[in-house]
C-alpha cells in the first residue's frame, strides 16, 4: 500500500461506489439519492484526506470478507456484511462510515429532502425560539441546593 498516494485508485473508487451504494441506497419515494450518486461519490473521494489509509484498509477488508466479489453478492448479503463489519468496530470502517455520512448529508438533494436549507450556517444563521420560560416557575422558589461551606464549617 502506497502511503504517499494522494487519492483512491480507479479500482478502489469502483469498490467504494458499490459499498457506498449499499450503505446508503437511493430511495426514490423520499427523493433521496444513494451515496453512489456520481456527485456524492465525487465529494466522498475528494474528502478522503487524512483518512486515506484507513479508507483503503476498509475497502480492502470488505472485499476480502466477500472473497473479492462484494459487487457480486446479492443485496441482502452485501448489507449483512457491511452491518456486521461496522458493528465489529475498528478505526478503518468507522473512518469509512464517517466519510460517507459526512459527504452524503451535505448534498443539496439530501438536505432539501430533509427540509433543510442547503447552505453553510454562516452568515445567515438560524432562528431559535424562546421556548416556555414559565416552566421555570416551578424551580425558582426552591431552597438553595448548594452547600455554604461558611455555615457548615462554622458549626
Amino acid at each position: 500500500m502506497d502511503s504517499n498516494a494522494a487519492a483512491l485508485s480507479i479500482p478502489e473508487l469502483d469498490s467504494l461506489r458499490t459499498i457506498a451504494g449499499t450503505m446508503i441506497p437511493a430511495d426514490a419515494a423520499l427523493g433521496m439519492p444513494g451515496a453512489d450518486d456520481p456527485v456524492i461519490l465525487h465529494d466522498i473521494a475528494r474528502a478522503v484526506g487524512r483518512d486515506l489509509l484507513l479508507v483503503r484498509q476498509a475497502l480492502a477488508e470488505i472485499e476480502a470478507k466477500s472473497g473479492g466479489a462484494f459487487a457480486a453478492l446479492d443485496r441482502d448479503e452485501r448489507e449483512a456484511l457491511i452491518n456486521g463489519y461496522y458493528a465489529a468496530g475498528g478505526a478503518a470502517i468507522m473512518a469509512l462510515g464517517r466519510l460517507i455520512l459526512g459527504a452524503y448529508y451535505r448534498d443539496d438533494r439530501v438536505l432539501l429532502s430533509l427540509k433543510q436549507e442547503p447552505r453553510a450556517p454562516f452568515p445567515k444563521g438560524y432562528t431559535l425560539e424562546q421556548g416556555d420560560w414559565s416552566l421555570l416557575d416551578a424551580v425558582r422558589d426552591r431552597a438553595p441546593l448548594w452547600r455554604d461551606d461558611r455555615k457548615e464549617l462554622a458549626t
Binding site: 449499499t22 450503505m23 446508503i24 441506497p25 430511495d27 423520499l30 433521496m32 474528502a47 484526506g49 487524512r50 443485496r75 452485501r78 448489507e79 457491511i82 452491518n83 461496522y86 458493528a87 468507522m94 462510515g97 464517517r98 455520512l101 459526512g102 459527504a103 452524503y104 448529508y105 451535505r106 439530501v110 430533509l114 433543510q116 442547503p118 447552505r119 453553510a120 450556517p121 454562516f122 452568515p123 445567515k124 444563521g125 438560524y126 432562528t127 431559535l128 425560539e129 424562546q130 421556548g131 416556555d132 416552566l135 421555570l136 416551578a138 424551580v139 425558582r140 426552591r142 431552597a143 438553595p144 441546593l145 448548594w146 452547600r147 455554604d148 461551606d149 461558611r150 457548615e152 464549617l153
Partner: protein
C-alpha cells in the same frame, strides 16, 4: 541560539489563563511577553463558513489533538486512558474549541476534605475567587439567568440563550420529576457585547464561532492586553524553562516559526499551558539542579490528573426539536451535585442537557452507536432520529489520585523533537458509582421526556477530558507544587496559573474557574510586587 531582549514577565501559553493573567498584569506597565506555539485564528477559517462544517470537527477542528494533527499541535500518548486529551493550540487555546458552557465550581468543591473527608481542601475558597469570577464573567461576556437556587448568587451580564423547543421539552420532564434545572450560563453573547455581535445560531459552535459571538480569549482578553502593551509572539514552541546558578528561572528556550532555537530571558516566568502541557514543560526542564523536573521537589508535578469522566445518555422523542441549529449548550441540573452518602458515593455531578445535532453529525453519531443501520432501513430510521434527539451529559467530579498522571513519553516527540506527554488514567470506584447513578438519573429524565431508543456512551468511549490538578496548589511544599497564590515552592520567580493548580476539579466545565484563579494569582502578584521573590 539567538538571543532576545530580556522581559520582566514571560508568559508561556495564550489560552484561557495566559490571556487573563496577561491582561491583569498589563496595568503594572512591566514588559510582558507571551509565547504561543499556535497561530491567530481567523473568523473565515472556522467550519461554519462552509458546507463541510460538520465534517471538519473530525478533521482540522477536532477537539482531540492527535486526530486534529495540525503542525502547531503536539502529540499525546493517551493509550493508557479511557479518556482522551482535549485541547487546542493557538491564540485563545482551549477557549477556541469548547462548548462555552460556563458553570462555576461550587463552594463545597474547595473544601472536600473538611466537608466530606475526602481528597484535600484548596488553600483558598470560593469566596476568595468570587470577585474574580465576576470580573472574568464581565471580560468573557456571560449570558445567563440570575436566581438559580442550584448555585451561589451571580449576575450574568447578558440574558440567557433561549430555551428553544428542546429546553422546554426537558423542562417539562424535569418538573414532572420535581428535579432542579436551569438555563446554563454560557460565554455565547445573546446581545451585542463589547464589540462582539450577538449569537445568530450557527449550529454547534464547539469548533469555533465564525461570527465571534462565542467568547475566546483571542477576541476578549488579548485585544485589550495587546493595546495595553503586552507582546504576543505566535509560532513559538517552548522546549524548556532555564534556571540560573541561584535556582531562579532565567527564561525559556523555544523554537520559532522557522524551527530556529531561541532563548528568551525573563525576570519572571508564568506557565499557562494547561494540565498536560504545563507538567510536560516542567518535566522537560529537568537539569542538574532540578533532576526530577523543575518545581518538582514534592514529586507531584504531573500527578493527580483529573479529567472529568462524562457519560452521555441520548434518546429520541416524537416531537421535532431544535436539532443542531443552535449552540449545543442548553440547561444544567444541580440536583445531584452535592454529597449525599445514601447514593453510595461522595461528591456529585452536573447534568448537562444538550440540543440535537446537525444532519451529518446526527448520522455519524447514531451510526457509531449502532442505532442507525446501513442499507434499506437507513433512511427510515434516520428520519425518526434527525431533529428528535435529546441528550444529557453527566459531568462527574473525579477526585485526585496520584496514579493518574502525566509523564514524558520515552519515544513519542513533537515536530521539534520535544518529548511528548504520556497519560496514565483510571476511573476510580467512587467515580464509577457516581457515573452509574448519573446514567440512571439521566435515563429517568429522558424516559419522563418521552424518549425511546436510549443509548449510553460511557466515559470509556474516548470522551474528551478536561486537564486539571497536575501541579496542585497548597501551603505544604511536600504536598503541593505551588503556593496558595500560584508561585512555585521551589523556584521563587516561577508561577503556574492554569488548571494544573486545581486541588479538586468539581463536577463542572472548568474554564470559568481556571480564569478566575488566574486573575486571583495575577492580583496576588500585583499586591506583592515589592517582595515577589521573598
Amino acid at each position: 541560539m539567538s538571543g532576545n531582549e530580556r522581559v520582566d514577565v514571560l508568559i508561556i501559553g495564550s489560552g484561557a489563563s495566559g490571556a487573563a493573567v496577561a491582561w491583569s498584569l498589563a496595568e503594572t506597565k512591566m514588559r510582558i511577553l507571551c509565547l504561543e506555539q499556535g497561530d491567530w485564528m481567523k473568523p473565515t477559517d472556522f467550519p461554519t463558513n462552509g458546507r463541510d462544517w460538520e465534517a471538519r470537527r473530525y478533521g482540522d477542528f477536532d477537539i482531540f489533538p492527535n486526530r486534529r494533527g495540525r503542525d502547531t499541535d503536539y502529540p499525546v500518548n493517551d493509550d493508557n486512558s479511557p479518556m482522551k486529551v482535549a485541547n487546542f493550540n493557538g491564540v485563545g487555546g482551549g477557549t477556541v474549541i469548547y462548548t462555552a458552557h460556563w458553570p462555576r465550581m461550587h463552594p463545597s468543591d474547595f473544601k472536600v476534605k473538611s466537608l466530606d473527608g475526602v481528597a484535600d481542601d484548596w488553600p483558598i475558597d470560593y469566596w476568595t475567587l468570587e470577585r474574580f469570577y465576576e470580573e472574568n464573567d464581565r471580560m468573557m461576556g456571560v449570558s445567563g439567568l440570575a436566581g438559580d437556587p442550584g448555585v451561589p448568587p451571580r449576575n450574568p451580564p447578558m440574558p440567557p440563550i433561549p430555551l428553544g423547543k428542546t429546553g422546554s421539552h426537558y423542562g417539562k420532564a424535569m418538573n414532572k420529576l420535581g428535579w432542579h434545572w436551569w438555563p446554563s450560563d454560557t460565554t455565547i453573547a445573546t446581545t451585542p457585547y463589547e464589540g462582539r455581535a450577538q449569537c445568530i445560531n450557527l449550529g454547534h459552535c464547539t469548533p469555533g464561532c465564525a461570527q465571534g459571538a462565542k467568547a475566546s480569549t483571542d477576541i476578549t482578553y488579548w485585544p485589550l492586553a495587546i493595546r495595553a502593551g503586552v507582546e504576543l509572539r505566535t509560532r513559538c514552541r517552548v522546549r524548556e524553562i532555564t534556571t540560573d546558578e541561584h535556582g531562579m528561572a532565567s527564561g525559556a528556550i523555544y523554537y520559532d516559526a522557522e524551527g530556529k532555537e531561541q532563548f528568551q530571558p525573563a525576570e519572571v516566568v508564568i506557565v499557562a499551558c494547561n494540565g498536560v502541557g504545563t507538567p510536560r514543560l516542567l518535566l522537560n526542564s529537568a537539569s542538574g539542579k532540578f533532576p526530577n523536573g523543575l518545581a518538582n521537589s514534592s514529586g507531584l508535578v504531573g500527578k493527580n490528573l483529573m479529567l472529568h469522566p462524562w457519560p452521555m445518555i441520548s434518546g429520541y422523542v416524537e416531537e421535532t426539536l431544535d436539532g443542531g441549529k443552535a449552540p449545543i449548550t442548553n440547561l444544567w441540573s444541580k440536583e445531584f451535585y452535592e454529597t449525599d452518602r445514601s447514593r453510595g458515593f461522595v461528591r456529585g455531578y452536573t447534568l448537562q442537557f444538550n440540543r440535537g445535532m446537525g444532519p451529518a453529525n446526527q448520522a455519524i453519531t447514531s451510526a457509531a452507536s449502532g442505532q442507525l443501520p446501513w442499507g434499506r432501513d437507513h433512511h427510515r430510521v434516520y428520519r425518526e432520529m434527525f431533529e428528535h434527539r435529546v441528550g444529557i451529559g453527566v459531568a462527574c467530579d473525579d477526585l485526585p489520585e496520584e496514579h493518574n498522571r502525566v509523564t514524558l513519553d520515552p519515544v513519542l516527540k513533537d515536530s521539534n523533537g520535544i518529548p511528548a506527554p504520556k497519560i496514565d488514567y483510571a476511573i476510580s470506584d467512587n467515580t464509577r458509582r457516581m457515573m452509574d447513578h448519573g446514567i440512571a438519573r439521566a435515563e429517568e429524565i429522558l424516559t419522563a421526556a418521552g424518549a425511546t431508543r436510549l443509548y449510553c456512551s460511557r466515559a470509556a468511549l474516548n470522551s474528551p477530558g478536561h486537564l486539571l490538578g497536575t501541579c496542585r496548589m497548597g501551603t505544604d511544599p511536600e504536598r503541593s507544587v505551588v503556593t496558595e497564590w500560584g508561585r512555585s515552592h521551589d523556584v521563587k520567580n516561577l508561577f503556574i496559573v492554569d488548571g494544573s493548580v486545581f486541588v479538586t476539579g468539581g463536577g463542572v466545565n472548568p474554564t470559568s474557574t481556571i480564569q478566575a484563579t488566574a486573575l486571583y494569582i495575577a492580583d496576588q502578584m500585583k499586591q506583592r510586587l515589592g517582595n515577589l521573590f521573598d
